[in-house]
Symmetry: C2
Subunit: 120 residues, 2 copies
């Protein structure tokens, strides 16, 4: 199989991530993306996300004590972020480390972009 005719930019991907302000989202894309926004729609998860995003990676053992919440609850919120595709986790020895998935952040950011032609 040759890759000689692969387009440089997948046109589907362009439609997929063009800003909200450019064209109405099709229902499938909305269904795909909504869980990411939903995952960020809780104050605890938003803080978890920003704590993880502020550093290369973060141990659960450093996340949990920042909240007045039980370990299982933090674990639950981390699972929601993970299943939304916003973060990845990896166990190394005793501790579990979380990292953001920058491409997910970029996709959401792209959706919220306001093109220069609409900045009024």
């Amino acid at each position: 199989m040759s890759n000689q005719s692969l387009p440089v930019v997948d046109p589907n991907a362009v439609a997929c991530c063009s800003p909200l302000t450019v064209r109405p989202m099709d229902p499938d894309q909305a269904t795909a993306v909504a869980p990411m926004f939903k995952a960020l729609g809780d104050p605890v998860r938003l803080r978890l996300m920003s704590m993880i995003a502020s550093v290369p990676e973060m141990c659960v053992c450093d996340l949990t004590p920042a909240f007045d919440l039980s370990g299982p609850t933090i674990s639950h919120h981390l699972k929601v972020l993970r299943e939304a595709g916003l973060v990845d986790s990896e166990r190394r020895g005793t501790w579990v480390w979380y990292r953001v998935k920058p491409e997910a952040l970029r996709q959401l950011g792209a959706l919220l972009d306001i093109p220069a032609s609409r900045s009024g």
Copy 2:
């Protein structure tokens, strides 16, 4: 009262809207912003938002028929978007028109920005 010593940029506002990736959000900001993400965290509302954002303003009468949902349900979702501060509505005669609030979109977009220094 003179305004001679007003800072050009409110330092609080900077802290308020610096990207997630720059520093952990403080709990108050997370509580303030999460409802906006939450409002976008439903496929119907995400589509409504993008339909409204794609044009200067949009009549409810043109939004409702785009969904297989009752009028009250659409009205409910529009109320959620309105109370999250993402859109404004105005009645003019028979119809009600919805507009996006660009500054809200910009605030969320800014939070998701990935600074050039972190683009790896």
